[in-house]
Symmetry: C2
Subunit: 362 residues, 2 copies
DNA sequence: TACTTTTCTGCAAGCGCTTACAGAAACATA
DNA sequence: TATGTTTCTGTAAGCGCTTGCAGAAAAGTA
């Protein structure tokens, strides 16, 4: 099956290479820009201009081309576009794992925003082989993607060096305070934790248990700090016995709560650094034969979907995760347009969502 | 061997073109195949052969090239590769949403397997604008991806027609019985539900509540059928009052269980069609002041991570979700290699995971 | 009318790679 | 030595597109 037909084409005019071989197993007959050009009776450069919304195309011509495009169902080949033009309309997303509501919400925001910008999403999970960061980054930089989003990276330094050096656009989501020179979007963890703790205090609680997140993450540190600050501001002691270290997973909420509930002077409220751990807390409370919120108030952080679905609905600090994803994309696209724009770090506000898992101590 | 064909290179020896532009704003200095060729002193075609592991390259040459590649840190530009060679090494993944352990596990399997095959993952979520299916599919077909994976598609017909027509490779994951002509991987839902129900019966339960999944999904139908079959096989009546319709979400587990528990003759066990609903059931049971498993046994389906983390750990039917993802990728890659291979439909076995949420009725 | 400026459009040169083809080198056979 | 064979390597033709350049057409100005 040879498809050669080089310059041995003597018919002076437009070559008109027929493109529908018609017979035999045929892959998608890929309508190309040439087909559209022929259909519309213009050059393929003009078609390209129309497709890319460039100026200097007569309205008339533009319409002719548009019609040809819809008639033929033409979709530009991204690979070729990217190769020729330098933009791939792909954004890479580096993520540890999916499967949590937290990630799901962020990715959903990312995805939404990306789709309205006509971008595609290339997903990379870092639980794969550890040593691959460099490859990833290189692959991405080599034209695979126009920019990179990193959600909650644990050791971003590995990537960031390379990224910075090559001036490759990126944005961190739910970052962990890496100085000011990193474009990032996060939320006001400190504020959220402060507000939540304050709420409990104002409800009348004096002994408030706290279960931390993974303290290598800035978010976890900030939440702990917000909790402590609220206590101090209300002249309440910081009792180390009431602070249990966790890493954001449910079992630690459970065990942490059991520890707290076994204290001689047990707390009347427990504030977990995320909702998932709060669920663990709720289980533990119940298993101790206590009721929520009658005996113990429980408070979470994040406001994942499930938080409003459990019983009693969980009072929690909402982090606008979708919004974070959206905003990160917006920032990234800006940086793609102009890699030299000043580095921005945005922290979205959190909201205390009051449901039914807290009440004044009895 | 005496003459190097590299013209325009006056210094006879190894060219050693310094590659660090060093000055001025420089985009990633993209090492290309040409640079490697120069560095290794061969033609770029040879480099291409080495990179693609083609035969007919002298061992010697191969090594020289390899060295040059590592020395320069060359990474092939996928766009160009794809454009020239027809393969993009990208697989599209069509998904409704992420953020559930269920999806997370499948995607994780997909991702793992893809990464060992050196493929990239392009993510498309269908919660985006509804009418975009055609665009997606066209984009993908236009060379963006080599194949497509669809997880739990609700109305796949929309895509499948186009896909089939263009003979574009795809595989469904956790399909819903669309006849035999669709390549798919799922799990033995019927068997799993049968085994679980049988287990409860053998424990001594006679009244077993069942909460269904979304019945437009084959998986949900099969689970219900397995439940019924087990009852029948054990001469137990099928009591419609014990069957509550749900759609796989937690609140339905909760409300469903409340309904069941309010029955005059309430069940001694509740079997939810997935773990998430089982969590809802557990909450409801507790809120009715009953204990699990002492008063009511609870059984789930899927075995998501959380199932072993709740208290008491949930007895459930494990669906090998990671494995499903993996297998789907393997099948897809086969189909990419040979689109004409016969259609396969695989159902992976399920396993009853006995934990502590079930015991004989008291 | 002649000339300048402003749109519009086509030509052609790649983007970085794969691969058919042909030529060279190495080895084997007549 | 002449002539295959087989292995290896280079040349060149694109893949489908963007974009600089220049010429053509339209519009404005003198």
């Amino acid at each position: 099956m040879k498809k050669r037909m080089v310059q041995a084409n003597s018919n002076g005019g437009s070559a008109h290479s027929q493109s529908a071989p018609a017979g035999g197993p045929q892959l998608p007959s890929s309508v190309t820009i040439m087909d559209v050009a022929r259909e519309a009776g213009v050059s393929y450069a003009t078609v390209s201009r129309v497709v890319n919304n460039k100026e200097y195309v007569k309205q008339d011509t533009r319409e002719k081309v548009m019609q040809a495009i819809t008639r033929l169902g033409y979709v530009a080949n991204q690979q070729a576009r990217s190769l020729a033009g330098g933009k791939s309309y792909v954004v890479g997303l580096l993520v540890r794992d999916l499967g949590s509501s937290y990630m799901g919400a962020i990715v959903s925001g990312v995805d939404d925003e990306l789709s309205t910008a006509q971008y595609n999403l290339m997903l990379y999970t870092t639980h794969r082989r550890k040593t691959n960061e460099r490859i990833y980054v290189n692959t991405l930089i080599q034209g695979m993607a126009d920019g990179l989003l990193l959600i909650l990276p644990r050791n971003p330094e590995a990537y960031l060096d390379t990224l910075n050096q090559s001036r490759f656009p990126y944005v961190l989501i739910d970052h962990q305070g890496l100085g000011d020179q990193v474009p990032a979007v996060g939320s006001k963890n400190w504020d959220g934790a402060y507000a939540a703790t304050k709420y409990l205090i104002e409800l009348g609680h004096r002994r408030i248990g706290f279960i931390t997140g993974a303290l290598e993450l800035g978010a976890a540190i900030d939440r702990l700090a917000g909790y402590k600050a609220a206590l101090i501001d209300h002249q309440l002691p910081i009792d180390p016995a009431l602070i249990i270290e966790g890493t954001f997973f449910q079992p630690e909420g459970y065990s942490g709560a059991r520890t707290l509930l076994n204290l001689e002077q047990r707390p009347t409220a427990i504030f977990a650094s995320n909702d998932v751990m709060a669920f663990g807390v709720m289980e533990a409370v119940r298993d101790c034969g206590l009721r929520i919120p009658a005996d113990i108030s429980v408070l979470g952080f994040d406001d994942i979907d499930q938080a409003s679905h459990v019983y009693p609905p969980l009072t929690t600090v909402r982090q606008p995760m979708q919004e974070m994803g959206r905003l990160a994309v917006k920032m990234l696209l800006e940086r793609i347009k102009d890699p030299d724009r000043p580095v921005e770090r945005v922290e979205l506000p959190t909201t205390l969502i009051i449901r039914q898992s807290c009440q004044p101590p009895t």
